[in-house]
Amino acid sequence: MTIHFILNGEKTTLNVTPDRRAVDVLREDCGRTGTKEGCGAGECGACTILVDGESRLSCLMLAAQLEGRKITTIEGMAVRDSLHPLQNAFIRHGAVQCGFCTPGMILAATSLMNHNPHPTRADIRAGLSGNLCRCTGYQKIVDAVEAAVRLEEEKS
């Protein structure tokens, strides 16, 4: 089937088998390999993408479900050469070790901030509770998201 959707701001048309998983279409057909597959069962959050601004697991979505949606992957977060404030905060706070969970963490944090622009530390922990990191122990990830939240608050 032919599907049309917006991928990171760009109109995209693809011929796909409808029952392929969205994570596979994004990685293999669109070359957006920033979207990772960890468990393939919705438990780890590595495949998190934004669908119309809200976080979803791309391992539990089929290609047909991309039709008509605005999809954001980690590659769509930076604006040209400027990293997204969350990406900068992750670098500054050492929130990345192996990096496999980082795209999912940043997109889950974006979805959290879209719904709640002033999350507390506890809200951030709860908001990222579907994303597993096996390296950092989470402390620095929560620090980074908190720093990005405070930065946004200072701007507004």
């Binding site: 088998t17 409808p18 029952d19 998983r21 393939g40 069962a41 919705g42 438990e43 959050g45 998190t48 809200e54 976080s55 979803r56 697991l57 391992c59 539990l60 979505m61 089929l62 290609a63 047909a64 479900q65 039709e67 889950a108 979805s111 959290l112 719904h115 709860a126 908001g127 509770s129 579907g130 994303n131």
Partner: protein, 282 residues
Amino acid sequence: MTQVYLPRTLTELWTYLDGEPEALIYTGGTDLLVKMPAENANTAPALICLERLGELRCIRETADSILIGSTTTHAELLRHPLILAQLPVLAQALQTLGSPLIRNMGTIGGNICTASPAGDTLPPLYILEAEVELHSRKAVRILPIREFISGPGKTQLQKGEILSGVAVKKPADYNIHHFEKVGQRKSMACAVASMAALLRLSPSGLIEAARLALGSVGPTVVTATAIDESLIGKKLSLTSLAATAERIRQLVAPIDDVRASADYRRTVSGNLLLRLLDARTQ
């Protein structure tokens, strides 16, 4: 290859179902698509995804009940003022369900149709006297949830029928709305045991009405009128609850599995009642 249909209206849905009567139906995919690779790879004749069926995505209020459309996500329910204000026992359960990602995708209709003994919305729905609405091209029928769910993973849903919504009674007569789940961790945890409770405490602190439901400790949600009645006239104190806690431990019928032993589940089931000592009136 399996065809995937995304109906936008019930009329479209019936047309797809007429053409593919064996199709598997899902909305969030958080249960079906997890099982698919192993069990159904290339064997499902077709898939019908209800995520775009706007008619079923709603929360409405009548004088004495609240109606929830089946494709309403858990996250939508948790953001809705009606649910937060009127159904705190359901909201508390939803907060423990999966993760934010799962709650953005999974729906209340899916949680009911999956009929897992550990389904987090089920104990609250049982004590809220939920009735499910089942829709086919030709008819609509209503069933109490306890009749709809007939066993682990088993429901009365027939071919050509979908669960279109669930209606619950407003628990206006109760001033304690309580849910607790014990799992192996806080997030993404399948319940080892859970309990939903509605109580009415008199100004002098006596229990005047009680409804309890336990999850994950039997083939379906466990409720018992005798247990509920044994609480009437009692105070919320350790000594007065201890006898009922023991009766709960005898009543439940849990199994051993990877998450916990049956013995542990039995002990925890009784202890969950004692946690009502910390519950606050609303």
